[in-house]
Structure formats: structure tokens, C-alpha cells
């Protein structure tokens, strides 16, 4: 499909431009906080984008996606604690651990569908949560402080706020680009076909489970990257990042932004986390306002913000 100048693409382009220029604004205005906030937003947008691959394109409602944030984070934290500070080791381990977890969980969960799939992915993520809580050597319930961020030699310094932000942003844009290639590839066509009508896809000759599992593993691996970045961002990793409410947050970001739309989760993550930040400055009961807002979006803006923009364009 050709790129068109429509509301959706315009918003996506403006958002990317804004994210690219943010450190300049932060520097000029001396507002350091905004950069810290947006580093977190960009990392969670990456996690949401990975979730969108299975949820939006693949139709697999995983309610346990936060597990990968923890697995990626603990890979960094545990290796750092054990004296392996190199990012060249930590990041590949974080990705590999996430991939293996996804492979095992996916192989088991994909035997079910619908509500059962949601519940079983949730159950596995809660298991991961309790396993992390039991890691006495690595802080248990209290979590694990990462005293030194991943060391990438002279290549990039993660302790430099701006450099770290750009690393996260590069990862996000890289992942979005990768997902764009994937969903338009043969593989992506099959995955979306399975979302649409699995029986038909089997009848024309596709072994459904294999493709779904592969998609599940890719998604989990990409989310593991977000986990590794998140641990570096907070210099800390705890079981809480795997808690089911965090998985719910990621789902909300995807739905809010627009499922199955490339930049949907990025828009959703920015909107959700900014709103959370703003509302929490106004009142500590911010969730009371956030809840109804989300309800309105689900009820009246099907397809999320991107869906709304899409309709806007059609007039």
C-alpha cells in the first residue's frame, strides 16, 4: 500500500518527530523530568508494540505480557549482580530467556483459545511473579537493585540520560519497523489470516499452531528487550513489573491506541502514561477519572485513537 497523507499517518509522523526532538526541548528548557518520563513511555510503548503483534495482528489475547518485562529485567539484574556487566551479554541473554519462556508458555497456552487462552497466559505470568518473589538471593519480594547499567564499552553510555533515551527510542522505532515488515510478509499474512478465520486457513493448507507459536515467540522476545531497557531505566527490577495489573496496562495501551494498527500502541502508550501522569498531579484518585475515560474509548471509539482518526479521514 502507498503511504497516504491521512490523519493517522500525520499523527504518527508528528509523534515520531516529537519523540526525536524531545531531548532538545528538555535541554533547552532545563526540564530533566520530561526526559525521564518519556524514556519510560518509550520503553513501555515498545512493550505495547510487541503485544500488538500477537493481540492486534494475531488475535491472541495474551494477559501475561508483563512477564517478559520481568524476565528481560531479571536477566540484566541477575547478570549484573553476578558480575557480568557487559550489555553485549546481558541483552542477548534477556532476549533468549524471553524467547524460551515464550516458546514453553506458547506451546502450552495455544492448545486453548478465547477466555481460556487469556486465563492461562495470566496464570503463567502470575507463576513467574511468584517465582521472582521467591528468589531470595536476588532480593525476593523487595526486588533487586541494578547498581551499574549495562556496559556497552565505548559504544554508548547508558548512564547518560540523553544517550539512553535515544537508545530506547531507536529500539522502539526499530521494533515498529520490524513489525511492519513482518505483518506484510508471508508470515504476517498467515498470522492475520488465522486471526480472521482459522478453519479456512487450515482448509487451504496452513498448519495453524506453528505460525501462531512463532508469532508468540517473536512478540515475547521483543518484549524482553523492553524489560532489559526498563531495568536499566529504573536501576531496579522487582516482581511487581510482572504483576497482572501491569499486563493489563499493556493491553489498555494497545486497545486505547488501536489494535492491529502499526503505531497504535505507541500512540496508546503515550496517551495512557501522559494522562496517568497529568491526572495523578491533579488528584491521587486519578484512577477514578482514568477508568471512565477508558470506558468511553472502548464504547464509542472502537479501534481506539487510531480508529477514530481513521474514521475522521473518511469523513
Amino acid at each position: 500500500m502507498k503511504d497516504k497523507l491521512n490523519a493517522r499517518n500525520l499523527v504518527s509522523a508528528l509523534l515520531v518527530a516529537g519523540l526525536l526532538l524531545l531531548p532538545l526541548y528538555s535541554q533547552a528548557s532545563g526540564n530533566v523530568f520530561v526526559l525521564t518520563l518519556f524514556t519510560r513511555i518509550v520503553i513501555l510503548a515498545l512493550a505495547a508494540a510487541s503485544l500488538n503483534l500477537i493481540m492486534g495482528y494475531g488475535g491472541m489475547m495474551s494477559f501475561g505480557h508483563a512477564a517478559y518485562l520481568g524476565i528481560g529485567g531479571y536477566a540484566v539484574g541477575i547478570l549484573a549482580q553476578e558480575g557480568f556487566g557487559s550489555g553485549f551479554l546481558q541483552f542477548p541473554v534477556a532476549l533468549a530467556a524471553s524467547a524460551i519462556y515464550a516458546l514453553v508458555i506458547g506451546a502450552l497456552s495455544l492448545r486453548t483459545r478465547g477466555v481460556y487462552f487469556i486465563m492461562i497466559t495470566l496464570a503463567f505470568a502470575q507463576m513467574a511473579y511468584y517465582v521472582a518473589s521467591g528468589l531470595a538471593r536476588y532480593g525476593g519480594d523487595d526486588g533487586l537493585t541494578v547498581y551499574k547499567r549495562s556496559d556497552f564499552g565505548g559504544l554508548i553510555n547508558l548512564s547518560n540520560r540523553t544517550q539512553f533515551y535515544y537508545l530506547c527510542l531507536a529500539c522502539l522505532l526499530g521494533v515498529v519497523f520490524l513489525i511492519w515488515r513482518i505483518v506484510n510478509s508471508r508470515f504476517g499474512m498467515v498470522v492475520q489470516g488465522l486471526r480472521s478465520n482459522e478453519q479456512r486457513m487450515q482448509a487451504i493448507g496452513f498448519p495453524a499452531k506453528r505460525y501462531k507459536l512463532m508469532c508468540f515467540v517473536i512478540s515475547g522476545t521483543l518484549c524482553g528487550l523492553a524489560g532489559a531497557l526498563l531495568a536499566n531505566n529504573t536501576d531496579f527490577v522487582s516482581p511487581a513489573v510482572m504483576y497482572w495489573t501491569r499486563s493489563g496496562d499493556l493491553m489498555v495501551m494497545v486497545i486505547l491506541g488501536g489494535m492491529g494498527v502499526l503505531f497504535g500502541p505507541v500512540v496508546g502508550a503515550v496517551a495512557y502514561l501522559l494522562l496517568e501522569e497529568l491526572l495523578s498531579q491533579v488528584t491521587e484518585y486519578w484512577a477514578l477519572i482514568m477508568g471512565p475515560l477508558l470506558l468511553l474509548v472502548v464504547l464509542f471509539a472502537r479501534g481506539g485513537i487510531m480508529g477514530l482518526l481513521g474514521r475522521l479521514n473518511r469523513g
Binding site: 506484510n184 504476517g188 499474512m189 479456512r200 487451504i204 493448507g205 505460525y211
Partner: protein, 255 residues
């Protein structure tokens, strides 16, 4: 006679106490158009679903080209050249017409663990899709979303999707279901063309169509094959007339 392309032996499938397929045996020769008729609830769709692998038989065997496929998964049978159309239209509604057919071609053009190249730009797949669409007269609708097609067009697309898998054997489950008179006539004409190239098993209620098209007809009643013969013999068969009772004029009046 040479080995039949499709051989069904003593196939049984029960749903609780109901025997939906009751020791069905059936031979379909290469190049033949074999129709399966029978009153409502005779187990025609159940039979087709076992042939395609969407249902597993309780006992009995199915052979395709001499190979036992009774326990192969649906996608494996598709790879061996078995294609089906669904009685209730089953398409990818949120995909375009061309995408639906291209995916069918893709399923039979190597594996699909290819993550980078744009599948919509693979000329091989697009050309195969276009060819199949031309066969059924839908080429001009290639870019339209399937959910926007008329019912008749969706039935034709079902056929194009099946054709794009380059089948040896085409299982058509009531392709005329819900079609108007003109649309039905077009479908019959289309099937008359297709039968020259591919072996077809046709399940159909439209007796005009069945008697116009079939080389052989099997009559299914309460899950059992009560007769299997050429159309003229079926028309004279006393058991068949009895099975259809009040409907017997349907069998005798036409042709």
C-alpha cells in the same frame, strides 16, 4: 478400472447416539464428477468434514490416490491436493478478494516462515490469484474487501480459493446454497468447465444442477449410502424414490 482417486471404506462417525455416518463406502474415479445427495440431515456435511479432516471418523478409512489419509490433519490433506468449499461461506472477510486467493496459493508455494519480503508484492502469488479469479469471473473485484461482496460473489470466491490450492480433488459443499436462479446457472456453467480439469465431489440440494453435472450419484439417507450409480439408474431406483417419498418428484421430474 484403475484405482479410484478417492476411496472411502466403512466410514463411521457417531454424535452421541446418532450415527451420522453409518458404514459409508464410496469410490470416486479420477476425472469423475461425483454428486452426493440426500434429504436434510442425511449426514452429507459430516461426511465432507471427515474427508477434509475437520472431523475425525470413529472408524473406517479414507484413501486419496491409494494413500491412507484417515488420520492426517486438514492442512496435510490440503497439501496432498484436497480442497473444499464450505456450505456456509467461510472466507477471510476483512481481507481483499485477491488476498484471500493469494493466501491459498501461498499455502502451496513453500513454507511461509518468511518475515521480511512483502507478500503482496510476490508476483508469483499475485498471478496465481489473478488466474484463479479469472476462472470464476471475479478478476474485476480483486481489490474489494470480501465483506463487501454479494453472497453470489462470495460463493464464487470460495471456488477460486479452492482452485488456487491446485487441487486434485475438489469437495464442494452446496456451492449453490442461497444463490438466485441466474447465479445458480452461472455456477453450473462454471462447474461444467472445472470438471474437465479436476475431480469433483459435489454435495448439492439443487437437483437440476446435480442431474445436469454428475457422472455418478450417491444417495445418502440417515448416514447410509443407499445407492451409488449413474444418474439415469438413480432416477429409476426404488429405494431412492422411497427415501425421498413426497420429494420423489424432485428426483424423477427433471432431466
Amino acid at each position: 478400472m484403475a484405482d479410484p482417486l478417492l476411496r472411502v471404506e466403512n466410514l463411521v462417525r457417531r454424535f452421541g447416539g446418532i450415527v451420522a455416518t453409518d458404514h459409508v463406502s464410496l469410490d470416486v474415479a479420477q476425472g469423475e464428477l461425483h454428486a452426493i445427495i440426500g434429504p436434510n440431515g442425511a449426514g452429507k456435511t459430516t461426511l465432507i468434514s471427515q474427508l477434509t479432516g475437520h472431523l475425525t471418523p470413529d472408524s473406517g478409512s479414507i484413501y486419496l490416490g491409494g494413500r491412507d489419509i484417515s488420520h492426517l490433519a486438514a492442512y496435510r490433506r490440503s497439501a496432498l491436493g484436497l480442497a473444499r468449499s464450505f456450505q456456509i461461506t467461510s472466507l477471510l472477510l476483512d481481507f481483499t478478494v485477491a488476498d484471500n486467493v493469494a493466501l491459498a496459493a501461498q499455502a502451496h508455494a513453500g513454507h511461509s516462515f518468511s518475515f521480511w519480503r512483502n507478500a503482496r508484492k510476490e508476483s508469483g502469488l499475485r498471478m496465481a490469484a489473478q488466474a484463479a479469479l479469472e476462472r470464476v469471473g471475479l478478476a474485476h473485484r480483486a481489490g474489494v474487501l470480501v465483506s463487501r461482496l454479494s453472497h453470489g460473489e462470495q460463493r464464487e470466491l470460495e471456488l477460486a480459493v479452492a482452485l488456487a490450492t491446485k487441487p486434485q480433488l475438489l469437495l464442494l459443499d452446496e456451492p449453490m446454497a442461497g444463490l438466485g436462479v441466474t447465479e445458480s446457472a452461472r455456477m453450473v456453467k462454471l462447474l461444467q468447465e472445472l470438471r474437465k480439469e479436476v475431480t469433483i465431489v459435489l454435495v448439492e440440494h439443487d437437483m437440476n444442477a446435480v442431474f445436469a453435472l454428475a457422472d455418478r450419484i450417491s444417495v445418502l439417507v440417515y448416514g447410509r449410502v443407499i445407492a451409488s450409480d449413474v444418474p439415469s439408474a438413480i432416477r429409476q431406483n426404488e429405494d431412492v424414490k422411497r427415501a425421498y417419498l413426497g420429494d420423489q418428484h424432485v428426483v424423477t421430474a427433471h432431466g
